[in-house]
Symmetry: C2
Subunit: 196 residues, 2 copies
DNA sequence: GAAGTAACCTACTCCCAGTAAGGTAGTGCG
DNA sequence: CGCACTACCTTACTGGGAGTAGGTTACTTC
């Protein structure tokens, strides 16, 4: 079997096993057996257990970026772009629950290289957001734009965790919830009283 | 040496070593040596390597909760409570950078029990927020209150990461950044954020 | 001073990530 | 054809660290 195909197969099996048992509890022997190959092959292709995990994350990351970029194609207003981006993000979660769990939970159970890889995902998203805000908010210092980007990423990451446990919430609902806070703010929310 | 004191000493050394080398790279032998005691003592008192980590996290968590609760003591308006809570949170980060790194980064490099422990921290914060919002926003469904709580927790967690890399940002600045988004929203900031 | 117990140790086992060294099969070339 | 070369793949090991069995010291209590 050619290398490229074997690699894809290995990543598929690893993703499955990592997501199911968690990173720590998965052994390379187990993955090798699942692929139907010997352990040194995994090391030949990915260098280490963590390298294999990184390959899994990298793939999920690429998919996430592609989906996000596609969703804002041709959009004119910043607000619409943000909204569509949010919808795309939660939509991705929807159709890749496995990958997401890997990124968010199991992947965390690794070492520095894996953490760096996850951080790269967040930085990617943060950069997208900061740039977006920069085109909308005139005269806002760069530092604040960066912070807003971080805030939205954090909010999304956390809400995503909540979202995946809720069958009755759609991606649009989730995006709407973020929008209400980030765009309108709670201060102007409907049906408010200033004191409890 | 009495058990309680020895435990405190062990936690102190473990926190130091975990924060410095990372969870994976730290060995129980190393920690035992740092304490000046043999490895089985660590197992006697904490059960496992992860148990020791959990003890470290639990301590940081208790401190965080205490600080937060103290900061909102006697506050009347929900908005002020949120603001003070945010300031307290980032203030905690400020004076416990090591504990925070442990909670946020190194701790993630563990197993289920540690993850559960971290999740408990987030749930604790989320609950506080959701309750707060419930007292302010009348007629908002419980589901949405929960979501807002999650959003703020995520936003804070992420901004905290950014915050710790910035020497020129104060806890008040960070809280203010969150407030602008969460309370006022970006939507009202057309052109500039001069109203802030 | 015997009995009990709390703090502590040495010296292991076992599991698993990572590796050394070699085997087989398809391809290019005389 | 036969020889070399490479890509894919294997068995059988090493090393290190988590976790443990079983014993020792020293202090309390009657």
């Amino acid at each position: 079997m050619p290398r490229a195909e074997r690699e894809r197969q290995m990543i598929a099996v690893a993703e499955e096993i990592f997501a199911e048992r968690g990173y720590q509890a998965s052994s390379m022997d187990e993955i090798a057996e699942g692929v139907g190959v010997s352990k040194p092959m995994l090391y030949e292709y990915f260098g280490s257990k963590e390298g294999l995990l990184v390959a899994c994350i990298r793939q999920a990351r690429a998919e996430l970026l592609a989906t996000t970029l596609a969703s804002v194609e041709g959009v004119l207003s910043a607000r619409e772009a943000l909204e569509r981006g949010l919808v795309a993000f939660f939509g991705f979660i929807d159709s890749h629950r496995r990958s997401w769990a890997l990124l968010r939970q199991e992947a965390a159970v690794a070492g520095q290289a894996a953490m760096d890889e996850i951080e790269a995902v967040r930085q990617q998203q943060t950069e997208v957001n900061a740039t977006l805000f920069g085109s909308y908010l005139v005269g806002v210092p760069d530092r604040d734009l960066q912070a807003y980007g971080e805030i939205v990423v954090g909010a999304c990451e956390r809400l995503a965790q909540w979202y995946v446990t809720r069958e009755d919430v759609t991606a649009e609902d989730a995006a709407e919830l973020i929008m209400r806070m980030v765009w309108h703010g709670l201060g102007g929310a409907t049906g408010t009283h200033s004191h409890a």
